[in-house]
Symmetry: C2
Subunit: 332 residues, 2 copies
């Protein structure tokens, strides 16, 4: 049997076999019941999040949908300062999907979970008729614990704060777009998909004064900055030449006619921090493998309210809005 | 704008508007951040579950995909004895999906959450190109608290235990199948979709000695009984004439050539309980609107191991296996 059949989503014997032979060993599931019970979460506060992944193609330079589904949800938890602990995984598989691809995806998810230090504890499999899906869609939901005293929110941003980015932008979107269009760059542009929780933990341990963090996925850096501006009522001013972009990504964006500020990322974060800790934080972040290219890219001002301004090399300023319409569908 | 466009899944301004205008008011979301932080869960142990819903058609007699997505996940939590508290909602919408249908579904989800006493606290929206999905798929994940002392597991089943069912079987599957095939029954067969948590709470408060509970959704009653048999290593013997089936469902199943024991349910549960509390529990359950048709339907014996036996009216016995292959795809 090398393809997924409708019976694999039946709830009956074929689904039991699929779970027992593929999902349970990969994720070291302790129970095959519909809900998992975990002991002693020891909270305080818990963080809960969900994301569905519909990226096309499923495999792209630097990653695949499985890895993305783990890292993306880990990152959503990390962005509120939570320590990610548990994930659930919901699969919607199109009839006829190759078993080999499922195996590769599931094993990527297991590896990514291990790397991020989270455990997949519950799952679900549905199979839809051929032509009613697109290979595989994966939903992951995540649960984490927010340490005492951690309170991250754009409403805490103040004028004078500094804006930090943790790495080079645009890699994920360009990698997916290249794969979709059969473009090959030399060297290849790889997705930056990665779990940010250890970087976030390091940042939170190293300094008070982190107001908010967010990972610029769909909509890119510009959209997150606009969210910060709207939610704080303040103005985000960023300097274009301080925003790190790998030369391959810059070239690809020029070629494709897109702005890297609107391209999705899957392994970097934006943080707004108190001005006195900004340089120190960047120094700390640079010691982390995912923070090597960290930089202060701008600052917060009182006005114009709810606005993002981009300062260009030649002294011009332009207003950045959120992504309008859709630049690149199904990027994650 | 009356249809969903790819831009509604962009992460940019259209998606923000969709969330702000539709999801946030319906679910009374307190934050539009990717992860929600909830205070003071006050555990012990938490239960976590997930399910994706791909039912076709989206609207069927007695319910729709939205209501189903809330109740199904509430029930998965309730089945491990958890008090359901929080849900996440992940939408995968096909480009061109009517806004009116989305509104109806979202408002059903809000109503169902209210009724079940849970709160939808985080969500995600993806839009896939026309022809790459099927209207809408919904994933819900759920978090609940398991009260101290509650420990439900099929491994706790013992020979001599009684098997209880909480209601009449087969309604959901027959309702969906009828709608799909354009059949009209008079009176119509309605889906039994309902949140079982208040019934479960009543049962747990009323008696010790509940070994395990499970809701017979995909795969039906026969599949759950087989799971109980395999997980406990014991034999489940049920009497066919004690299993409640509404006459409309029985007639429809005869007509369609299917066995109600393998048809999906969305608002009933099977429980295995200590023999001395069985009759009392059924009496208590009958007082609950969802337990009106509760009945003891059989018992547990030592052997044959890992086997389900169905005793028929004329004294015969037949072995029930799990659902083989797929009887009715996309039932939930």
């Amino acid at each position: 049997m090398d393809k997924i059949l409708l019976g694999h989503g039946s709830g009956g014997s074929m689904m039991h076999a699929l779970i027992a032979e593929h999902f349970a060993p990969a994720f070291q599931l302790e129970t095959l019941m519909d809900a998992a019970v975990v002991e002693n979460l020891n909270p305080g506060r818990i963080a809960v999040t969900t994301d569905s992944y519909v990226v096309s193609p499923l495999f792209f330079p630097g990653g695949n949908i499985g890895e993305l589904a783990v890292n993306g949800t880990v990152n959503d938890l990390a962005m509120v300062g939570a320590r990610p602990l548990y994930l659930t995984a919901g699969f919607i598989i199109e009839e006829g999907f190759p078993f080999d691809d499922l195996r590769r995806i599931v094993s990527s998810m297991a590896e990514a979970s291990e790397k991020a230090g989270v455990k997949i504890i519950a799952g679900d499999t549905k199979v839809v008729d051929k032509g009613k899906g697109d290979g595989i869609f994966i939903n992951t939901a995540g649960v984490g614990v927010v340490p005492d005293g951690v309170q991250l929110s754009a409403s805490r941003i103040q004028a004078g704060d500094k804006i930090i980015i943790s790495g080079r932008i645009g890699n994920h979107g360009v990698a997916v777009m290249a794969e979709r269009n059969g473009l090959r760059f030399e060297p290849p542009v790889l997705s930056d998909t990665a779990p940010l929780n250890s970087l976030v933990e390091l940042m939170l341990e190293s300094a008070d004064g982190i107001r908010v963090m967010r990972d610029p996925t769909r909509g890119g850096v510009a959209t997150v900055l606009k969210e910060f501006a709207v939610e704080s009522g303040l103005c985000m001013i960023v300097e274009k030449w301080l925003i790190p972009v790998a030369s391959g990504v810059r070239g690809a964006c020029d070629l494709l006619g897109i702005d890297p500020l609107y391209v999705a990322n899957e392994g970097i974060l934006l943080a707004v921090v108190r001005p006195d800790v900004a340089e120190y934080l960047v120094k700390v972040m640079k010691r982390h493998p995912l923070g090597e290219h960290s930089a202060v890219i701008g600052q917060v001002e009182e006005s114009p309210a709810e606005t993002v301004l981009l300062t260009t090399e030649i002294g011009g300023r332009r207003v950045l809005e959120m992504l309008q319409g859709e630049q690149l569908p199904r990027i994650c």
